[in-house]
Symmetry: C2
Subunit: 222 residues, 2 copies
Amino acid sequence: MIGEGDREALEAAASRTVKFAARQVVVREGEALSQCTLLLKGFVHRFKDTEDGRRQILAIHIPGDFVDLHSYPLKHLEHSVAATTEVEVAIFPHSAVRELTARSTALTELLWRATLIDAAINREWLVSIGARSAEARLAHLFCELQARLERIGQGDRNGFDLPLTQIDLADATGLTPVHTNRMLRRLRVRGLVEFRERHVFIHDLDELRHVADFDPGYLFLE
Amino acid sequence: MIGEGDREALEAAASRTVKFAARQVVVREGEALSQCTLLLKGFVHRFKDTEDGRRQILAIHIPGDFVDLHSYPLKHLEHSVAATTEVEVAIFPHSAVRELTARSTALTELLWRATLIDAAINREWLVSIGARSAEARLAHLFCELQARLERIGQGDRNGFDLPLTQIDLADATGLTPVHTNRMLRRLRVRGLVEFRERHVFIHDLDELRHVADFDPGYLFLE
DNA sequence: CGGATCGTTGACCTGCGTCAACAGAAGTGG
DNA sequence: CCACTTCTGTTGACGCAGGTCAACGATCCG
């Protein structure tokens, strides 16, 4: 989501790096934050729990993503953040972000832009959950992750590692785990994609994208 | 979403005001933009159409909202924008926004923040559509609009004008118009809320919020 | 006055949820 | 190291929330 050169400049401004164990909750909903988190290694997801015990995953982050950059202008988060896998992150105190943005409007726009791409992904998920079939939702999620991961060199058009459970996929797509399982089977039987042992094997990316009604424009990859 | 004082300062930077007729499409998906739009009067909504003809409404904007401020860092939009009612908007060329942000980092953060509150609303809609029942989704939407409209003096805890059709509500909540109609009836029979003649009559806001699992924190109204 | 658009309702259908069972993998404590 | 739980994935049977189809007023508008 952020270019390599800028990323290194930013990493220099990081105060330190921190590791979290898999499945650890990093930020709890409503918490006030005084720092931002850049994901260096591993996966992180953001989510919200409803009163009746359902969990909605709001975003899945991959290395290079700012996980909670929006906490800088907003001061606190209205959702939780958890480590999906074991992760390593770089910490940016809000004060450091303030100094960076005071010095360069170009960098400010870069950071702003990163949060907006995040929002664009949120909107596409809205379309998926609100208007696409269960099968298409899953296909769309795979397409999105394929495009984003290929960009950072963690996958190609034949597949990528995806350290999620079927329960996670269900929580991300607004489905039940049981139905998720059945739709994965259908996608597999149709020869489009196979999700097995934390890896997505893509057998026909073009057809998968067609089934998913996927257009990568919303990712603003260039 | 933006304070009165800042709003007037911004209005001074607007190049001009423009009116649109109800139901007119203002920006089409994918269009490159060289200006931003501040909504002064009326309602605007943003949406995306899927290949198979379904429409997902992504956001409903009320006076005081920046409708497409994210077009400034992103340069083009990945969704469409339409006037819900007859509207009046103030136009800000991107060049004017650039000058404003170059001059004041505080203002930049204010604008950035506005786009992030927008994103927070997107996320709450994700939770609604992904994890709440049809009835709760509608109740939640009413609660959100109540809170936002009350803040700008266009409603109170007893109700507000809402210039949407049931079809619009359906497109916003990921339901069909028929089911939307039935759930509206249920909410009415339960004595919670009544939507009639483009007006929402709230009969029991506390209970409505409870049914909706509504917590206004995500709106950052303070 | 004719044609859209919208709201409403009934009858029926289906995609997805629920419940339940079980096997395999992966922790966990002794 | 092994028993023991816990977490996953998988499948079947069944139920229901919400979708689909259809009909018909009401309203608006040219």
